[in-house]
Subunit: 91 residues, 2 copies
DNA sequence: AAACTATATTCTCTTTTTGGAATATTGTCA
DNA sequence: TGACAATATTCCAAAAAGAGAATATAGTTT
């Protein structure tokens, strides 16, 4: 397998390797949310949430959609939920 | 969900967030291998492979078995293969 | 256009991770 | 026991990731 592919997969796992970003993923598994909603639910500073979302998006795990002032994020990788629930069982 | 659980999941993803460790996982998905075999196939220094294996083991992703001088490692989480092949399709 | 709201970006400092080199440990066999 | 082979550990410098504060951007409303 190619080095570039491993680098890309590494980027995916790096994006997931953070508690706040994992909480965001869990929130989004429940459906599309705007940044303000995520910020409020996680009780976290907005810039931090914004940076987290951008990292997840760059890795290809979530996608965004703009509507006026708001930006809505949602999961863009089908197997995310399955893998996380497998992990949950394992832990 | 609990903070401790997020920390544990973070540890899992951190363990996966490295190209060499991902290559090791791919090798092990093909079946149990000893350290020397992994070292040889990845053309990497032995201490680095050893450290990588220990990190994956601590995260709960692989397990080991000793036999004489050799230590054999194998995957210990069932959904690893599925998730990685989903990622492969996605990339 | 001005004020406001939601989101993104930049900067700086601290902490964590990385990879390489050297060395230690443990089991085997003569 | 001594030499050897396989694996693990430690130490260190460099690179990357982290948090927090301040600020910028862009769309909306008046």
């Amino acid at each position: 397998m190619d080095k570039k592919i491993y680098d890309k997969k590494t980027e995916v796992f790096k994006a997931l390797a953070n508690p706040v970003r994992l909480e965001i993923i869990d929130l989004l598994l429940d459906g599309e949310k705007c940044v303000c909603e995520i910020t409020e639910k996680l009780r976290c500073e907005q810039p931090r949430i914004s940076k987290s979302l951008i990292k997840l998006k760059k890795a290809g795990l979530i996608k965004d959609r703009k509507d006026g002032l708001n930006v809505y994020y949602s999961i863009s990788i089908c197997c995310m939920g399955e893998f996380l629930s497998c992990l949950n069982k394992m832990l």
